[in-house]
Structure formats: structure tokens, C-alpha cells
Amino acid sequence: MELKERLGKEWLFFDGGTGTILQERGLAAGELPETWNLTHPEEIISLHCGYFEAGSDIVNTNTFGANALKYPHNLRRIVQAAVAHAKEARRRTGREDAYIALDIGPTGRLLQPMGDLPFERAVELFGEVVRIGAAAGADLVLIETMSDSYEAKAAVLAAKENCRLPVLATMIFDEKGKLLTGGTVDSTAAMLEGLGVDALGVNCGLGPKQMQPIIKRLTEVSSLPIIVNPNAGLPRSENGRTVFDINADEFARLMGEIAEMGVHLLGGCCGTTPEHIRKMIAACRTKSFAPAVRKHRTVVSSFSQAVEIGGKPVIIGERINPTGKSKFKAALRENNIEYILSEGMAQEDSGAHILDVNVGLPEIDEPAMMAQVVTRLQSVIALPLQIDTSSVEAMERGMRLYNGKPMINSVSGKRESMEAVFPLVKKYGGVVVGLALDENGIPYTAEGRVQIAKKIYETAAFYGIAKEDIVIDGLAMTISSDSGSALVTLETLRRIRDELGGHTILGVSNISFGLPQREIINANFFTMALQNGLSCAIINPNAESMMCSYRSFLALSGQDEQCAGFIAAYGNQQAALPASAGAVMALDESVERGLRERAAEAARDLLRTVPPLELVNNELIPALDRVGKGFEKGTVFLPQLLMSAEAAKAAFEVVKDAMRGAPQEVKGRIILATVKGDIHDIGKNIVKVLLENYGYQVIDLGKDVPPETIADTAVRENVPLVGLSALMTTTVVSMEQTIQLLRERKPDARIVVGGAVLTQEYADSIGADCYARDAMATVHYADHIFES
């Protein structure tokens, strides 16, 4: 029978350990186990035979570490032999009813941006193994021992894109229920379900006893069949050998307990043997079997957090969006990703649960920008993201690179929109915002909007997307042009909740377009919408009036136990004095002491009497110079230098605002990059802060940057100075290559280098124009280049 028809409907049993048994049989430390497929075929066949005979319904091929990084030359032979050995064992044991799982473990490399393996390269690596294994006759793909949700996503996509076999995935959690990369049971399960795996679960890391809390949580959140493949207890070292602390009888007893928790596939991992599996099967087969139950939960996730929609109302931060924001537009045009990240972090600190990400601007490459922003945001922010775009291409890029189950904004009741968006939701997973409008526009009545909501649910179902993965946007339309529009929106919210049992979302502030003091209306409408059942609100979480409404609503509606949230937010407010309470500190002193708020305040104060340029030249620059000189003399230290730079930056922002409209003076444009192969970018970032302080515009290409990108940018942007950073001797090689390429492509560009291992001699030998021993030295060199 097809495996898919049996999954989650009856007990199925996996095999046990592979690596630990091969070690018993002589596999040396550091020796790659998959090589035995070619060198010790009989050992591998007999290993599989042991498990088939013990009663395993699914036996894993010896391909855990098989990928082109480890086997650049003979991957095909390794994988083909592995599948052939499993088939041979199945034939010898007469277990034609059993299945062979193509086993896929992690690559052993960390994905970008924390590591250096690009996401799409990981997809390729896994895809190659899947193609070979599926062609060789595997019955399913088992992705296992994944400690990084992002890598697991790459593997699942690769499996789905390269074969039609069932795809099962198990992750490795620690005793706190966390992946090594920070994921939880909730966040990981949401992502894997969204990606459409056929079963999910846990393996390795822990014994059956320690796994129980994790399994319990999994049974509460997952709608899929659940797999449990623990180790034979915890490992310990005995005379240099790793042994596990529970025997086959104890393992079987504990697995019997787990079988009663509502799981569906059981097996073992490190330290378990055919004996463990045989006894486990005997202990579990007679337990009553409970099929997997759909949970109908609406969940989005990031690498580490899951947010459930439908309980406490959820706040979606709206600030990552260029509409009506000139600074944000400028940041997009200048590729100033840091600005976008800082907008994200501010909203996270203000209490948002999800961040909307809209980077659409007519003159930029939106799909590329979406890819870049999603990648950067998810490396520094733990909140789930809502991918907000009208470009289907940008949507797919964002969804594909997203590390979790995203929210998607949006689909509408228009046929064309549903045909474009639903296949993406089906493939990548996500909770999608359904706008209650269609080819005929926005209905004036709640009835019309409810009808469109129904159409969206029905069409989604046709694509295999469950109702819980849709939230309906009831559409807030300004009351300034139609005084009844808020009432229609509120009625829509109620009816979606009460008649359709669905969840809702609103872009709350749309209600007040065209009115003065919009926040007053917004905050009050927000409370009304919450009272009418709004599930998610797209708002500005930095607007205190909105958060006041939200926290008050929770406290008043019995959703804030003992008002703890409210008290935490407002209990200490009287104690916190506003920054302007004390006397204004002089601007130069604020900068020298590194006090950001004070510096901004002093600048504002000074601007009342002093013209902006004079302020910069007579106050800011001299203060910065004094700090810089102190740093060079050794009386000011790096943290102070940077704090002063940040204080000066705060003052510069005030000045810039005051000069709005006037052309900004830029002393020069400089490219900064950490070279290919190097993922340490702290030095480069220090230099950037200081150069910007001194009036330079920095084109920051980031870390691990290929020479071609640096040369291309220098040519395209006609940049006269390039700064390169490298930390290790191994990456100075790429620095040298970059310099050579720059010399060819942009001979008039000057090159300044820095980094821990560099010296003047070293810099000379690789042909740099200048060696900068610290950030100030780079500033001086830039001054020298741009002044001459």
C-alpha cells in the first residue's frame, strides 16, 4: 500500500541507530560513514536486515551526510549504493511491505547570513541527493536531525521540487525544547506544516524520557502525523567510547509511554539497535492508536517565535513601508538597509508581534530588495514578518527566503489575484490576508464583503489551503468621504467572526485619511474594531495613543491577567522624567560624553539662535575632532569614540531635519566591504559609523562580498575610494584578488585596507594604497583623498 495512505492511520515503525552501530563495527572517528556503502556493502546490508527483521516498516538509507560538499566526486555512487543496499536487505528479509527512506541530514554548514552557505546553494545540494535517491528507488524522503529551521526549509523545498515522494521531517531539540538556532516546537511545526511535509517530529539529541515534554507540545500544536525517534538515553563516555544510558527493555517501556501520547511513527536514533526496535515494537503495537487530529490553529512563525492569531489581538507594525515617508524612500534608493532594520527594531521594542514589510518603490528592483530586506531583518529581529507587496515575483522571493511561516499581504477576491497568490501559499506556507474586494471593487455593504470573504475561502480550499490560513481584511475606508464607512467595516468584522468563524485584519489608520489630528480617530476606531472582534491590527506601534488603546482594551476585556501588562507598561511612567527636564547640556559636551538624547536636544535648542551650518562647523565638528584626537592619543577608548559618533549622528539628524529641502553636502562617496569568505564585519561597521560622521556617504556592501560585486559597484557608481576589511590570513587572499580586480576595472580608485591580521608590510605586499590601523586612520585617508 502507498505510504501516504497509511501515514497517521496506523502504527508505523522506523529503524534505529546507524552511525553508532557502524562505529561498533569499526568506523573510525572522523571517517565518513557513507563511504562504507562502497567499501563495506555487506556490513550495510546486514545493518538494514537487522532492522527489517526487527519489524521496522521504514528503514533509512546510509546517506545522512551524503552531499556534494562532502562527496564532490562520487556522490551519485554513494547514494545509489545506499538505496541498493536497503533494497537488497528488504529482498533478503522478505519485507516487501516495508519502505525505504532516503535519509537526509544537515549539510554541516551554517547558512547565510550567520554562516557562509547561501540558502539556494543548500537547496541545490539537497536537491541533488533527492534526485539521485528518488531515481534509485527510495519510497520516501526523511529529513532528520535538523537543528536549524532554515536549513530544514531548504531541504523540504529541495525534496518537494525534485521528487513526488512523501516528505517526512524530524528536528533535534534540546531539553529546553529549543533548536540550536533558537527555534521552538511551535515555530518549527508551523513552518514545516506550511511547507506541506507529510509527517513531522523529533529525533536524536535526547532520550525518550527527556523528549516527553517536547512530544506533548507537538501533539498539542501539530495537525500532522508525529514521528518520535529518540536516542537510547543520554550519551556518556566510557573508556573513550560513547555509550548510551538505557537498555532495550527500558527503551521499549518508555516508548510505550510515548505511544500513549498521541503519536504515530516510532523508532530510534543514536545508540538504539535492532534489539531496541524489536522490543519497542512489541511494547507499542498493542497500544490504541489515535489518528492525527486537525487543530485549526492560525499561526505564523519566525526562526524562533510563533504567533497565534485568534486569541489575544495581534499587532502588526506598519512602519516598514515607503508610502508617504521621504526618509524611507531615500533609504530604499540608497540601499540603506540599516535604516530599515532600525525601523524594525524600534517596532519590536514598542511591542509589535509581527512586522509588515513593504519595500515597493517604482524605481527600484522590488524582488531583489524584498529578498535583501527579508534576509537582513530575520537575522536581527525575532518577530515573524508579513510580506506585503503587489508584485508576485517579490512575494515569491520573500516567501522562499523567509525563515519560518510568513504572513502574506495580500490576495483579493479577484480571480487573477487568487490564481497568482494561492499557489505560492500552498507551496511555501503562510497565513494570507484576503482583501474583501473583487473585480467589482469594494462593496459598500458588509454583506457584499462577507460574500467576497466566502469566495476567497472557497477558492483557497480548492488550492488545498485551509480556512485557518486566511485572515479577512474588512477594509477600513476613510470616514472623511463617507461617514458610514466605519460602521460597515465594523459590521464586516463581526460577521466574519460570527457567521464564518474566520479571523480579521485591518489597516486601522486608513479610517482617518483627510482628517486633522488623525491619531485621535485612529485610536478610538482601533478600540471599536477590537471590541467588534478584530484579530490583527496593522498599526504604528510607536504611536503611544494606539498602544494605549490596545493595552486598555486588553485590560478591560479580561485579556490581561491582573492587569499585569498594563501595569508593566504604565506603572513606572511618573518616575521616568522626560529628557528635557534638566538643564540643556552644551552640544559639544553632549557629543564628547556620548549622550545621544542630550546631543539631539542641545542641537534643537541651539538651532533657535544659530544657523544649521554654523552649528555643524563650530560645534559638532570640533567636538568630534577632539574625541578623535583623544582616541589617537589613547585617552579616549573605542566605545567612547563610537558613543560620541552616535551622539553626533543624533545631532546631525536634527540639523538635517531643520535643513529639509536644502541640498545636503556630501564630502565624498566611499565603498566599504568585508571581503569574500569573511563573515566578521565588526571592523568594517566601526569604520562606517565614523566615515558617516565626517560627512561621507558610505556604500556598504556588507560581508562575504565577492570581488566582482565590489568592482562592479565601484565602476557603476564611479566611486573614488574603496575600503576593504579582512580578519584572517585565509581571507586576506580574497582581499588581494579584490585589489587586483579593482586595478583592472577601476584603475583610478584608491584602496584602503584594514583588519586584525593586516600590517603595513602586508598591505603593501597585496598592493593596497593605504593601510589603516584603525577607524580614525581611514577617516584621515579619506580626507586626504577627497581634499586633494
Partner: protein, 214 residues
């Protein structure tokens, strides 16, 4: 919770015998607390026999290492512990986050995390010293790829022999850097004779003009 050497963190920030001002001190305390919340220190070690097939050449589990400095460090040793330790990816994330908005915090996180991984390695080292003591053996100072002429490329061998990606989530990039960043791999020699002089990493290093030299 790792107890780290505050003066070590200050040294990485360029302070030499000078106390930081109140603002920096406040940041130091705050950043250290932030790091303690996100780090997941993990380590793995394993004992291997050591062979000296030729002068200045060593053999550990079939890996040939050519290094004068390491050979000197491991003189008279019969076995080695290979060890690897990491603070986990949380520290990397915190540093990346601060880098985008507040570099003054980023450099402090970086310095404190460096002092923390050092302190954690010392902890592991102490445990190994006690373990060795049970066999009547003495540990030599920890020696990492990249020290002296011990090729940094051997990070890859150490990672493979200890199965670090799977065991502790420690990986090696194509250019032989460790990821997560705050990680260490090292060799610790085991000998039947104690070594009178404990020279540690810095003093052993040939780069005498280094700004961070002790």
C-alpha cells in the same frame, strides 16, 4: 551563566589599566546581561592517541599536522584531547543587531563575548585537566589552529573528528572561519610529565606588535 574576566573584555576594547567611564561601565554591565540571556555554551571533546612520525610533524587520527609550534607544545605527549566550544548563534545575532543601530554596543558585545568564550574554554580545560589527572596525566596549554604556524585549515579536521556540526552546532566556513563566531577549537596535549612553564596562546604567538598582546 559564564563568569568572565572583566579586565580581559576591557583589554579587547583597548583599555590598558584604565577604568572605563560611567557610561561605558553601564553599557558593559547591560551588554553582559544581554549576552548571558542568549548564549548557549556547548562543548565537545575526545581523546586521541598522538603520534610523532617525523620531526615537526604530528599525527592525530590520521590527520597529519606540520607545525613547529604545535610540535614543541606537544613534546613528550602520548595523547591529545581535541576540544571544541561555542557560545552558540545567539551571541552572533546580538552583535549583528547592535551593529545595525548602535556600534558602541556592538563592540562591547563583541569584547564581552570574546572574554566569555575564553572563560568557557578555561572551564572545559579545567574539567579536562581533572580528567587527565585521574589517569596520572598532565595537560599542556590549549593550542588552537591559527596559533603560530599551526595552520588554521586544521579547524576543519578538528570539526570533523569531533562531529561538531551535529553535536554542538559548530561549523567551519569555506575559508576556515568558525560559525557561530564565538567558538574555539583546540588541541590539548597529554603527557606523563608536568610542564614547568605554562606559556599561553599570546606569548607563544610570533606577532609581537599585536595591539591586543597581553
Amino acid at each position: 551563566m559564564i563568569t568572565f574576566d572583566r579586565s580581559e573584555a576591557l583589554r579587547y576594547l583597548g583599555y590598558r589599566g584604565t577604568e572605563p567611564d560611567a557610561a561605558v561601565e553601564e553599557s558593559l554591565v547591560r551588554c553582559a546581561e544581554g549576552l548571558q540571556d542568549v548564549i548557549q555554551p556547548q562543548s565537545v571533546f575526545r581523546r586521541f592517541p598522538l603520534r610523532h612520525p617525523a620531526e615537526n610533524m604530528l599525527d592525530v587520527a590520521g590527520v597529519a599536522i606540520h607545525s613547529n609550534h604545535l610540535a614543541r607544545n606537544l613534546k613528550d605527549c602520548t595523547d591529545v584531547y581535541l576540544m571544541a566550544a561555542t557560545l552558540g548563534i545567539g551571541a552572533d545575532r546580538l552583535i549583528a543587531r547592535a551593529s545595525a543601530v548602535r556600534m558602541s554596543d556592538a563592540v562591547i558585545y563583541q569584547a564581552v563575548a570574546a572574554a566569555m568564550i575564553e572563560a568557557y574554554c578555561e572551564e572545559v580545560n579545567d574539567m579536562l585537566r581533572r580528567k587527565a589527572g585521574n589517569y596520572g596525566l598532565y595537560c599542556r596549554p590549549r593550542f588552537s589552529p591559527g596559533y603560530g604556524d599551526f595552520d588554521i585549515g586544521h579547524q576543519r579536521d578538528l570539526s570533523r573528528l569531533l562531529d561538531t556540526p551535529r553535536k554542538i552546532g559548530l561549523t567551519v566556513t569555506e575559508s576556515c572561519l568558525l560559525a557561530p563566531i564565538k567558538s574555539v577549537t583546540a588541541v590539548i596535549g597529554l603527557s606523563a610529565t608536568p610542564q614547568p612553564c605554562h606559556r599561553k596562546g599570546c606569548e607563544e604567538c610570533g606577532k609581537t606588535d599585536c595591539a591586543f598582546r597581553r
